[in-house]
């Protein structure tokens, strides 16, 4: 079989003298060596980087939401950083409801063998919106959709921000928010009633229905909702 692609080796940007990575031992709670990318970010984006925290050996950079996409794009493209791998996108809401909601990105640089956590804080009372990193990482597609599904955070620039794990007509809100009760907002009888009353067509997206023109046969309210892209919940 021919070798069609070059093999991408992780750690390729490091010099051969760099010691091989080892299991972290005796990691302090606070402090410790900082990821060099944090200093580079502070130098490159002095206004956007709010603070840097090193906790349990993991570097967290708090950035402002407005310049998130620029920062992520630079981290991805700059050969000195080359964060080519997006591990995770998620959000955190604290039990202290006055604390801002944090949107969290976990990035990996395979070439430099680095791990970086980016955070954007969204104050309560402001619209839960942040830029999508989908233009840089295609893998953010479902991760951001899940985050929208569970927290109601809108990712501007995401091509298809629909509910993912829950169905599109889910009306109870965003389950991982702290004001959402563990058993759900509706009673079991109401949940059952809604499940039985649902139309089979409601399990298809507008995109799918347009393939077979079943869209025109839907009830008027569902057509309007699908067409306007109205989001359920809240």
């Amino acid at each position: 079989m021919s070798n069609a692609f070059p093999i991408v080796y992780s750690g390729s940007a490091l010099t051969p003298e760099t010691p091989a990575p080892t299991t972290p031992k005796q990691v302090p709670h606070h402090g410790g060596p900082e990821n060099p990318s944090a200093a580079a970010l502070r130098a490159r984006f002095p206004d956007a980087v709010q603070r840097v925290v090193v906790m349990w050996g993991e570097t967290t950079v708090y950035v402002s939401g407005g310049s998130l996409l620029d920062i992520v794009r630079w981290l991805h493209d700059d050969p000195g950083q080359s964060y080519e791998y997006l591990s995770d996108v998620t959000a955190v809401e604290y039990r202290d409801l006055d604390r801002p909601i944090e949107v969290v990105w976990h990035l990996r640089s395979l070439a430099w063998r680095r791990f970086l956590r980016l955070k954007v804080e969204i104050q309560k009372g402001t619209p839960l919106e942040v830029a999508s990193v989908w233009p840089v990482y295609k893998g953010a597609d479902w991760l951001e959709r899940e985050c929208y599904d569970m927290f109601g955070i809108r990712f501007d620039g995401h091509p298809d921000l629909r509910r993912l794990l829950l169905w599109e007509q889910y009306k109870e809100g965003y389950p991982l928010r702290k004001d959402f009760p563990l058993r759900g907002r509706f009673s079991r009888s109401e949940q059952l009633r809604q499940a039985l009353a649902a139309l089979p067509e409601s399990r298809y997206s507008m995109e799918e229905l347009s393939i077979v023109d079943a869209f025109d046969e839907l009830p008027a309210d569902m057509r309007r909702r699908l067409r306007d892209g109205e989001r359920t919940g809240e």
Binding site: A20, S87, V104, R108, W167, V212
Partner: protein
């Protein structure tokens, strides 16, 4: 909006009219009596050029490995568009975890990626231990490596068996599941459960290995490569097998990284990314093993990578057996580990510790940690945020097969419908982990 695409199919058969009566076709002849060839009857097949068909693959379909639903737009037999739907098994693990103590979450980790339950248990407590700032004992570290590699072997065996069944080969499935049974028997002897093991605790393990267990493991290490060789002999050079897998579902290394693929999916594409080696945990850097890497990124390479990984797991197991030290399994910290039962019923201090641990649970300092391990499916991460109470503020699972599956439209579009089954099986999805 596209034009109306309802396909009108004429319900008739050659020689019958619309009511089903036989049609008498008069023989025609020229005036001098010589017969004339009849014109071929007009084709009854409607012209389907440009007509696309909507197919709903799943959620209840044996080849979707659970309850995955793929809405496929087909042009003939070629997939034009694929729209996946997930969430049929969603039960809110992450929400439930916010109402549970750390040790009480461990049973939930069994149930997400249920083929790798022991590996998930280990991964979760690694994250929790970083949050608690605990270092485990040397014996516990080696036992956890054994647990992770054995569950990797289980998961890959199930994968290769079901992948074979999806493509149409049945025998390798039987070989694979027989070996899997051996590993499950070993887990049963170790922690008392087969599938939902809950084998770890924050700061240690639920149990030390029983007497004679290492001999069973050595026996397994001796015999298991033979099974792999049998499966390999059946499949690797099989014409049907290669015909169904070579060149199907190709992913370039750049795309594989950009789509966030991990584990065998990204390694088959030629990216040598293995969390065990690049971001080590459990002293994996001290073990001698190779990271197999594919060249073409197709389903065949994914098969080769996983087969080789099983043999590398056996290598790691051999080294782990050799180096397993004696000593305690659990850390010596009464704030984390339950006291012995006889002490809890006879000593006042142990009883208080027991009561506090059961009723309140151990409390980590406020903070957060993200610990990723190399699960059989890829990078599995547990992100935990604590506010200093005994229950996490946020418990996030980074599911590898969730991200791997999200690339399925990119993988299947342009392929035949039959290849959708192959590609979907090659991703190695577990819907319990995807939907959580």
């Amino acid at each position: 909006m596209a034009s109306k695409r309802t396909v009108e199919v004429t319900l008739s058969t050659t020689g019958l009219d619309a009511q089903g009566r036989p049609v008498r076709v008069p023989l025609t002849a020229t005036e001098d009596g010589t017969p004339v060839a009849l014109e071929a009857p007009p084709s009854l097949e409607p012209d389907l050029e440009g007509e696309h068909m909507l197919i709903n693959l799943g959620p209840q379909h044996p080849a979707t490995h659970g309850v995955l639903r793929l809405v496929l737009e087909l042009n003939g037999e070629t997939v034009v568009r694929c729209i996946p739907h997930i969430g049929y098994l969603h039960c809110g693990f992450e929400k439930i975890g916010e109402y549970r103590q750390y040790n009480q979450i461990i049973p939930w980790t069994d149930r997400e990626d249920y083929l790798n339950s022991m590996g998930n248990n280990v991964a979760f407590v690694l994250g929790a231990e970083r949050l608690f700032g605990v270092e485990t004992t040397p014996r516990c570290t080696v036992l956890r490596v054994m647990a992770m590699e054995l569950s990797r072997i289980i998961s890959h065996l199930v994968w290769v068996g079901t992948f074979c069944i999806d493509i149409g080969a049945y025998t390798p499935f039987l070989y694979a599941f027989q070996e899997r049974e051996n590993v499950y028997n070993m887990f049963e002897a170790w922690v008392g459960a087969r599938l939902t093991t809950s084998g770890t605790r924050v700061g240690g393990m639920a149990a030390d290995i029983p007497d004679g267990w290492l001999d069973r493991l050595k026996q397994f290490i001796r015999t298991f490569p033979g099974t792999i060789a049998e499966i390999d002999a059946l499949l690797t050079r099989n014409a049907i097998w290669t015909g169904r897998t070579v060149g199907v579902g190709v992913m370039s290394p750049e795309d594989a990284l950009n789509y966030g693929l991990s584990g065998p999916m990204v390694r088959a594409s030629g990216v040598a990314f293995d969390v065990r080696r690049d971001f080590p945990y459990l002293d994996y850097e001290t073990y001698d093993f190779e990271v197999p890497v594919g060249t073409n990124g197709d389903c065949y390479d994914r098969y080769l990578v996983r087969m080789e990984e099983m043999l590398q797991s056996v290598r790691i197991l051999e080294q782990a057996v050799d180096r397993l030290p004696d000593g305690p399994v659990n850390v010596d910290d009464p704030r984390l580990i339950l006291p012995d039962k006889h002490k809890a019923t006879s000593e006042m201090e142990s009883m208080i510790h027991h009561f506090k641990l059961v009723m309140e649970g151990p409390r980590p300092p406020a903070g957060e940690s993200y610990v990723a391990v190399e699960s059989p499916k890829g990078e599995k991460g547990y992100y935990m945020v604590s506010d200093g109470s005994s229950k996490p503020v946020r418990w996030r699972i980074r599911p590898p097969s969730f991200v791997n599956l999200s690339a399925i439209p990119k993988l299947v579009e342009g392929h035949l419908l039959a290849d959708v089954i192959t590609i979907n099986a090659s991703i190695d999805i577990v819907m319990g982990e995807i939907d959580r």
